[in-house]
């Protein structure tokens, strides 16, 4: 059983092993998600839907009086996470993404689930920036995980059945 993120609720901590089937996947988050849910969406993994979901999200967090800096950080972190799911986990194939946000006193807890490919080696990529030596060698990509790891705390990834489950926190301070 994968560990839970302290104090965040987390996924399925007491529900025992999840039994996914191909035809009707058991949803791994139906149990043990505690805390007041601020935002929840289930959507098809596409760049366009990512844009729309993030725009809904920032409107929702604004109405909840989340500080603007935390909203901006949540938008950027989740953009990078969701882009990664679209581009790498599903690699252009159709698939669902589920996103939850809940509030703690000092942060926004974000849970992201997809049924795409797991991370290579079963672990999230490191934060290394690609080497930059202008003008001849300036990278056009490879920034995403550096941005995520620079701004998010409490990153936690596990594979459960055919689900990728990622939890992170966006500090409010």
């Amino acid at each position: 059983m994968a560990g839970r993120v302290a104090g965040s609720g987390g996924w399925g901590g007491s529900g025992g092993p999840v039994r996914p089937t191909r035809r009707q996947p058991v949803h791994p988050f139906d149990t043990a998600f505690s805390g007041a849910t601020l935002f929840h969406r289930r959507f098809v993994a596409r760049d366009e839907t990512t844009r729309h979901v993030l725009q809904d999200l920032i409107a929702c967090l604004g109405q909840a009086d989340v500080p603007p800096k935390a909203i901006a950080n949540a938008e950027l972190i989740l953009a990078e996470i969701l882009n990664n799911v679209v581009e790498h986990a599903y690699a252009g194939r159709a698939g669902l993404i589920e996103l939850w946000l809940s509030a703690k006193t000092d942060g926004l807890v974000c849970n992201i689930a997809d049924q795409g490919q797991p991370f290579p080696g079963g672990a999230m990529p490191k934060a290394d920036l690609p080497p930059v030596s202008p003008p001849d060698n300036v990278p056009e990509g490879g920034f995403g995980w550096h941005i995520i790891r620079s701004l998010a705390v409490g990153l936690h990834y596990r594979r459960r059945g055919d689900w990728n489950l990622l939890t992170l926190e966006v500090p409010l301070g």
């Binding site: 901006a72 938008e75 950027l76 953009a79 990078e80 882009n83 930059v132 300036v138 056009e140 941005i147």
Partner: protein, 111 residues
């Protein structure tokens, strides 16, 4: 992608009128700026004063435009809003580009 161009001295100013440069528009952005830069002028100054959000895909597209223009023409940036500035600083791309506080000839502060 909504792009407007103007001349300021020797420079070609390319203003992005959309508020987001993200993964869903990165390719269209790159193509639109490349076409806009068919007009004469050097450096090409990308006015990002209206852009409120950029992700790493958008950043990559800006780098791609820089490479398309090189070596004959230089791509410079202007009027980065705080969330855009943050992405350039976090990725250290602020060290790669010349960044102007305002586009040339623009006397109005960008909101």
């Amino acid at each position: 992608m909504d792009i407007a161009t103007s001349r300021a001295g020797d420079s070609l100013v390319v203003r992005v009128n959309d508020t987001r440069i993200d993964a869903s528009v990165a390719i269209a952005f790159k193509e639109a700026v490349r076409r806009a830069a068919d007009a004469a002028g050097n450096p090409v100054i990308l006015d990002l004063g209206r852009v409120r959000f950029i992700d790493s895909s958008g950043l990559g597209a800006v780098v791609a435009v820089m490479k398309l223009l090189a070596p004959d023409r230089k791509l410079e940036l202007a009027a980065l809003t705080p969330p855009v500035d943050k992405v350039f600083r976090l990725t250290r791309m602020d060290s790669v580009f010349t960044i102007h506080p305002q586009p040339p000839g623009d006397l109005q502060a960008t909101a």
